[in-house]
Amino acid sequence: MNKNPITVLAAALLLGLLAACSSTPVPEQSAAAVEERTPGSTAPAKPPSPPPPSSSATTKPVPPPQVIPANPLKDPANILSKRSIYYDLDSDAVKEEFRPLVQAHAKYLVENRNAKMLIQGNCDDRGSREYNIALGQRRADGVKRMLLLMGATEAQVESVSMGEEKPRCTADQGDACMAENRRSDVLYGGEY
């Protein structure tokens, strides 16, 4: 309640009004408090100066725009928004370039013990659909093992396989296209 900017501002205004009667210089402080809540704002709303006692004009507080912190899992600037690990042909080894990604997700799971994760392994469409489920499972299991070694718990992580059923690229049968389909996708609770 106390941290609500509107409450703070209303309090500042009240203090300001009181200041008109007493002589305690508080508006300066309240202005600073409001500034803190609008970082990067180009035109922060200044708290109104207390009206001169002779004036008939009234003022209304204008609260600064509220800043909602970005969800790290969705923030494009955050590595946690990167959700796919790609593989070489016939391989379930997580390549070095994807290690930081796995580490970041492991750290998130460690710091958020209530967070749950689903890892979906995927394959290109060559060969048997059922065998490809098994291959995708091996990819997802590999990522899960890394996450557990990095501190995530068994209860947080489920590894499953979508086999060849959820291709990201369906445009053609070329190698580049199929490479997009050899991947593990990371989903958090609420996303699946």
């Binding site: 689903l118 659909r129 059922e130 489920i133 489920e158 396989s161 059923e165 989903l187």
Partner: protein, 424 residues
């Protein structure tokens, strides 16, 4: 081998079903085809569906008959004493099917047919059925089954059904159709993939894998009630259902204890038990017809190969050795042959392995064969392949001679499963 090309474009009688209609194209011909003529049935014009056409198309599709011209017969014979055998002899017919349709007082129809041996000028058999007008196709299939069995000594599969999955845009449908692709009905529609349909031995239920829960889950679905139940929905992936011949349990592949391993589960989802424990991929279990053996795919030897083991577990025996990719084993109904998919120079092709002689034979010349399924009489193997970038179903006689292709306009068809014989 003489290779003829016959094209059967089945007319789309019902525009509403057009999207679901399988069209069948046949290539190749069997050896020792029986020359047969099927006359129009007198009185069948009263039906919207000609019965004699259904019989002719069925027998034609089997590849085991040579269809002879049966027109220009007046009047149409209904009994043996009305048949001019000299005429049929001159048309080189060995067998002749005649029949008649008449309206019964209760509004139904009686369909009578006679199967005749032309050289011997004798009747081989005949049956009369009482049916509604809507049962004309079903009756035609039953007559074709009768003729097929009398003349080949093997049971016909024209009255059986097939299941398959259609993908149209982002929509998946599990469909059931007659063996000729007609009369398709959608048992399940989903926005998520459906794979691996498997018929219960009595033909009343289908097990399959659905991805509707963002992961593979095994369901058992009653076709008569439309009710279904998740029978394997454990942590991890649940897939590859295969019915035991008594219909009481399913072999499934679960990853709940790590890796992909084979388990048995009762058909109601109870009593899950692990069959084996290996550090490798073990998947695609399939019961032998006697229920004693499980065939499966494993990469325990470094590449995916086909093995078999006792259905209760125990040591496994490797069955395939040629090539580095042999998967999807399906034993024939008599247990003598194994259909599977093999990779040859980047092409995935349907092959059979004679389990006694260990001789293997590649049956197709397509590139992306998958999911073989034997007809219940063992004569035909239905499978999925790709032609022109589109998923189609294809069928090949188990000796590789006769080939058929079944496609649906503007949709991918995949994951075929041939249903069991239906009780007549």
């Amino acid at each position: 081998m003489t290779v003829r090309k016959l094209i059967f474009a089945l007319l789309l009688l019902c525009a509403g079903l057009a999207h679901a209609q399988l069209t069948i194209e046949i290539t190749g011909a069997g050896a020792n085809q029986i020359p047969i003529a099927i006359t129009r049935f007198g009185g069948e014009d009263a039906l919207s569906q000609s019965i004699s056409e259904v019989i002719e198309a069925d027998l034609q599709r089997s590849g085991r008959f040579k269809m002879l011209y049966a027109g220009n017969v007046n009047p149409l014979p209904a009994e043996i004493n009305q048949v001019s055998f000299a005429d049929w002899k001159s048309r080189n017919a060995d067998a002749l099917v005649i029949g008649a349709v008449s309206r019964l007082p209760d509004g139904r129809f009686e369909v009578r047919f006679r199967l005749l041996d032309v050289p011997k000028q004798v009747q081989l058999g005949g049956v009369a059925y009482a049916m509604t007008a809507a049962q004309a196709r079903t009756t035609g299939h039953r007559i074709a089954d009768y003729v097929y069995e009398k003349l080949t000594g093997e049971r016909g599969v024209f009255s059986t059904r097939i299941a398959y999955v259609i993908k149209q845009g982002q929509r998946f449908e599990l469909q059931i159709a007659d063996a000729d692709g007609r009369g398709a009905q959608t048992a399940l529609a989903s926005r998520e993939p459906i794979i691996s349909p498997a018929w219960s031995p009595d033909g009343t239920r289908l097990a399959y894998v659905s991805f509707e829960n963002k992961k593979p889950v095994v369901f058992v679905h009653s076709l008569t009630t439309g009710q279904r139940q998740a029978v394997a929905n454990f942590k991890g992936s649940n897939s590859a259902p295969s019915w035991s011949p008594d219909g009481k349990q399913l072999a499934v592949v679960l990853s709940r204890d790590g890796g992909s391993q084979i388990y048995l589960v009762n058909a109601d989802g109870s009593n899950v038990r692990r069959v084996e424990a290996s550090g490798s991929i073990d998947t695609e279990p399939y019961f032998s017809p006697d229920g004693q053996t499980l065939y499966f795919t494993s990469d325990r030897g470094g590449s995916p190969q086909i093995y078999r083991m006792n259905a209760g577990g125990g040591a496994a025996t490797r069955l395939t050795f040629d090539g580095s990719y042999n998967v999807s084993p399906r034993p024939s109904p008599d247990g003598k042959l194994l259909a599977y998919v093999t990779r040859n120079a980047g092409r995935f092709q349907l092959a059979t392995l004679d389990l006694a002689s260990r001789q293997s034979q590649v049956l197709t010349d397509t590139q992306k064969d998958e999911s073989p399924s034997f007809a219940p009489n063992g004569r035909i193997i239905l499978y999925a392949t790709e032609i022109g970038g589109r998923g189609v179903l294809a069928a090949v006689s188990s000796d590789g001679r006769v080939k058929q292709r079944l496609s649906v306009q503007a949709a991918d068809v995949r994951e075929p499963a041939w249903g069991p014989f239906t009780a007549n």
